[in-house]
Symmetry: C2
Subunit: 693 residues, 2 copies
């Protein structure tokens, strides 16, 4: 069934040019494919944001690497200016929560594709701050929510301390309640307990949502709580007395964000600044827990902890797509060597090795975009469910646990895939890929922290493996991601031989059945390892630590891969997919499937699923074969994934394919390109034998 949408809101690509040769080989319209990958409304929002930015001089890109201080100034100004652009119109607030989130995510993605510093700065200062406020605050904190939303205050979220990041239980900042003045005394015992790496705190934030251990006057600790802590006078940006706040200095990337640290010196804040949704100090100065609406608390917690990670996944899919698009377009234009010594060069996209290096990332960008959207929908339906009064709390708990496992493994998986894609693209574009204007270096440096923040990939992933291990004995999978575990005995008997009797390599089911065996195998292996460690007298902590390598760690990679394949397969079978696009999506699926499976090959042999060479031969040959088939549609698939040139901003990956013409402009017009440098006298060699030369 063909698309019926009016596609004209998607700007056309340049006609002709060196990419036309490959573009014409696809038998479908790239815009139709784009509308499979993203919803019409999402795309419209994105193009609208890009247009607004492109037309506003404040968002003109600099051609040179700005000093860090200047990057911060510009990002701060851009953030403030956002409110004037009316990027989020009022009617968005009247839509359903899901529609609202979709809209905001689309805006975030569009901003991130333009400037990660800007989008992360806004996400930290508005999104994450407000989510935390919803999860932890009450009516009396509404004013902060609104002010942050309208960008009337610059905020930040101060959790991490210098010596503790992932392990939030070890946070040492204290908040002692003083019943006399009804104030909390916030204190940082030493530098190691200073709040650190807090985005927006370095130069600009006036309010920090700060996590500290609440103590009552009897000396009892009531655990971590959130506090609204004023940092700077908003009129002057001068820090309040008792607050030693500063900027941690340059980072590898994201230098538009002012990451800061703060040490509190017995700094007093009023009683109402405690975020008191789950507990508060009453009139008598006694701590009281509040238990109400557990479903809503759970939903808010899910929203609070997961929104950032889902945002990172969406951003990383875009980053992955950008890297793949640049590499594919470059390789379709760049020619080198050829079969005849004196004959024509051929485009490097024709090389099998080159196809194998970059097409899997292009396929991954397609598959992971679709699966991330699917995960987002499940997440939103859980949040909607949590808002209903009559929800079954037990089912909701299971739902939240499963989504948390899915997100905790997908975030590492997608961020790592994007990381690898950028590096492979850089190398695949050779020297020209090393030009700053190729944008691959900025992509890498800005993407890098995604592997660490909002849960270090290696640590976060363990939350997924712990959940998966629990499913081994008792399946509680309302989302259905591991429903096959209900038939685990049957699954474990699977071998390559029996799977290959049922399905050939070109069938969707083949890889899925392999993955089901693999997941069972890895869960069982992890469970067994933990059991063995415990039987040697180790406690749960140590036992789990010793079951990571080649077990839990492989498991949390396989799980999101399987989820991605399943959801992508579902997408392929929807009625809006035309026959032509269906063929390409099928190839895309197979490339991603066998590329991913191949990395688990040792487990398949070690666990007895495969013997002899047939399985490895089949997977590898299939991958190469599907890559070869993909060549003719790869440029069109890249077009369907690509943001406009304004957002892609790569001199070697432009949609016009005019690689050398664009490089010529870059070479000739970069700042001072053709000038003798002002410092030429410093470079002249003093004791020369010039006369002789």
């Amino acid at each position: 069934m063909a698309q019926t949408v009016n596609k004209s809101f998607i700007p056309d690509l340049p006609k002709g040019g060196p990419l036309a040769e490959y573009r014409k080989r696809a038998n479908f319209d790239w815009k139709d494919l784009k509308l499979i990958f993203e919803e019409e409304q999402t795309l419209k929002t994105k193009y609208r944001v890009w247009k607004l930015l492109e037309e506003d001089p404040l968002f003109t890109r600099s051609n040179t690497n700005l000093p860090t201080n200047e990057s911060k100034r510009i990002a701060a100004m851009q953030m403030n200016h956002m409110a004037n652009l009316n990027i989020v119109p009022d009617e968005v607030y009247n839509e359903s929560i899901t529609q609202r989130h979709k809209y905001l995510c689309a805006v975030n993605e569009a901003l991130h594709a333009y400037s990660p510093s800007l989008s992360v700065k806004i996400a930290l200062g508005v999104g994450l701050f407000n989510n935390a406020l919803i999860a932890m605050g009450t009516e009396r904190h509404q004013k902060y929510y609104k002010a942050a939303w309208n960008r009337e205050i610059v905020t930040c979220l101060a959790i991490t301390e210098v010596s503790h990041g992932s392990n939030t239980k070890r946070i040492r900042t204290t908040a002692n309640y003083d019943p006399k003045t009804k104030e909390y005394i916030i204190h940082t015992p030493d530098f190691e307990a200073a709040k650190a790496w807090v985005g927006n705190l370095g130069k600009t934030a006036t309010i920090a949502l700060t996590f500290a251990n609440l103590y009552t006057p009897d000396g009892e600790s009531h655990g971590l709580h959130g506090f609204i802590v004023p940092i700077r006078d908003p009129k002057t940006l001068i820090a309040y007395p008792g607050v030693l706040v500063g900027d941690i200095g340059e980072k590898i990337g994201l230098n538009g964000i002012d990451n800061g640290f703060v040490m509190f010196n017995n700094y007093r804040i009023p009683h109402e600044n405690l975020l008191n949704r789950t507990g508060d100090i009453n009139e008598e100065g006694v701590y009281e827990s509040v238990f109400s609406e557990p479903g809503k608390v759970l939903g808010a917690a899910l929203e609070s902890f997961s929104a950032g990670r889902i945002g990172i996944m969406q951003e990383s899919v875009n980053t992955l797509a950008k890297a793949a698009v640049i590499a594919v377009r470059y390789s379709a234009v760049r020619k080198q060597f050829g079969p005849e010594r004196d004959g024509e060069d051929i485009p490097i996209i024709e090389y099998q090795l080159h196809q194998w290096r970059i097409f899997p990332y292009l396929a991954a960008a397609c598959v992971l975009r679709v699966s991330t959207f699917s995960l987002f929908e499940s997440y939103m339906s859980a949040i909607e469910r949590s808002q209903k009064d009559s929800n079954g709390f037990e089912l909701l708990t299971q739902l939240v646990s499963e989504l948390h496992a899915l997100i905790s493994s997908s975030k590492p998986h997608i961020t790592w895939t994007a990381r690898d894609a950028i590096q492979e693209a850089r190398e695949a574009c050779g020297g020209h890929g090393y030009l700053k204007a190729s944008r691959l270096g900025d992509l890498r440096n800005d993407h890098d922290p995604s592997c660490t923040y909002e849960g270090d990939n290696n640590v976060l992933g363990q939350q997924a493996s712990n959940w998966l291990v629990r499913q081994w004995e008792n399946v509680e999978s309302p989302v259905g991601t591991v429903d096959f575990l209900n038939r685990k005995d049957q699954m474990m008997k699977r071998t390559f031989n029996c799977v290959s009797k049922r399905w050939s390599f070109d069938h969707f089911e083949f890889a899925l059945e392999c993955y089901e065996w693999l997941l069972c195998h890895l869960i069982q292996k992890t469970t067994k390892l933990i059991g063995e460690e415990k039987s040697r007298g180790r406690n749960t902590f140590e036992a789990r630590n010793n079951a990571q390598v080649y077990a839990a760690r492989d498991l949390i990679r396989a799980y999101p891969e399987y989820y991605a394949l399943r959801t992508f397969k579902e997408r392929c079978s929807k009625p809006d997919v035309s026959k032509e696009i269906g063929v390409t999506l099928h190839t895309t699926y197979l490339i991603y499937a066998y590329w991913s499976l191949e990395k688990h090959m040792t487990s398949f042999y070690q666990g007895g699923f495969a013997t002899g060479s047939a399985f490895a031969d089949g997977v590898r040959k299939s991958l190469l074969e599907y890559c070869s088939q993909f060549k003719n549609v790869s440029v069109t698939v890249a077009d369907a994934l690509a943001p406009p040139d304004f957002a892609l901003d790569s001199v070697i990956g432009k949609a016009d394919g005019l690689l050398y013409e664009n490089l010529q402009n870059e070479f000739m017009t970069n700042e001072g390109a053709l000038e003798r440098p002002r410092w030429w006298k410093d470079a002249v060699v003093k004791q020369q034998i010039k006369s002789k030369l």
Copy 2:
């Protein structure tokens, strides 16, 4: 046998501090291990260079990211200033060629560890230029050699063109001989043929050794030749008429180097500027080939093409070591989580997963340092051999071919290993690893082009696999790297079962025997694939292209790994290795061996070497076991590999281990850290509801 060298020239490490706990667990002196990894003279040279730089204000590091233009100015000044430092004393020229090269390599390594931009700038302008001059020039070009050596001229090597890098046969710059004026007319037909990416050319070079196709007046092409082409007036740095030269702009890293492009507009240079070692235009204007001393020509070619690659290998081993050192020191100090919920945190080095992530890179730095030195010695002995009059030309040819194969596969292998080490270290150091002052970002950005320049890793490696495939039928291995191929039938019959009957996993031979099978298998597989492709009518070019993935490409990874293991094993058995150090080197070997073998696991199963789980189980368990053993010596091994703090320059990897104290200084003292920014008015939010907050 204990060391007898006076080790006092190696500066001591700080006493005490948080690293002392792990340091005291080693039962040997880190300085003794350092003297196993590097020769005394080499170390003395390096420490001398580092001391000279540290004491000279011109080499003081900037605390902030400098504008590109300023980085270039400083690098140019530092390069000019080199001559004043007397870093290469005159007596070095009187030493043997091998000693001289060792000295110069040590200087290069020390400079590179301080600033890759500076060392690459010198290497391009002096080393590579002069090597090319030796290989291609004659007596009449001596003056350039001396002037470059004494840093009286700034030079560069112009080979790559905008549209052709690896494929030098496609170079399109022309040099037409004009017999009337006895001049060559250098011409660039269009922008795609502009020389590009030429280091030092952008702003400073006055001379470019330029590759162009020589044409005689009869219109005949005589192929690529080198020409000495004046670019700028050395007194003013203004380009000569007919030379359009400029800077290509910012790069991802190495921004101290002014990479440039140049287009020649029928630009005339004198007859004697042709580098005429292999051919020249005679008095009658006719081209004449010169064939003399083929051994020396071959030796010069080896020196010319390989020096840069060996230099990159040495630099990359240092980069790899730096990344591993930072990660190991950080992980020995950084604590997080612990077995008891309310108990102590433990250093993250105690985690099995963390050990497995970083120790293999520390081991790789040890093994690859030793194997690179071994390769360097074989290379120097070939060059020495080529200088003797009575050399056997055929043997020399074989020697040069084998060394070329070894270098062509080792350069990719080492640069990729360093690339991965940096990324893993960055992630292993978490957020703090993302601080610019951790230096991991600079390491990554400066190291990145090593995977591309002096032969793109993927393209260069194919020269090694082509040589290896040739050895399958006819072994010509004077260096002995593939002498086992003489027993290939026997090798191919090997299986895990028979190897494991002879050796246990803790024996040196186990991995070597596995590798010999693997190499035979992969050569045979590649050969077979090429044969199959040809039998389908494909020519050699296409057949080879289709034998890369899972065949030739795996082969050229396995070959340098095997070479590294063999040479490291030899080093372990030398008499200067004490018993205690021997134990640690043995563990180091085993970690590198099983970590590397593990990556080839699919081939071992696919090729029938292993069936069932025993092989994979054994390799993986051994790796984890040896990593666990390595923990107690890892900090000491890191000390033995580490350059002094001045060169390492990482706030999180300092030798004193005072992680948080050093971070405190960094946070508090970075430029403007505690100040309100000058642009604060731009950041203040205009329409505030301040009064309410």
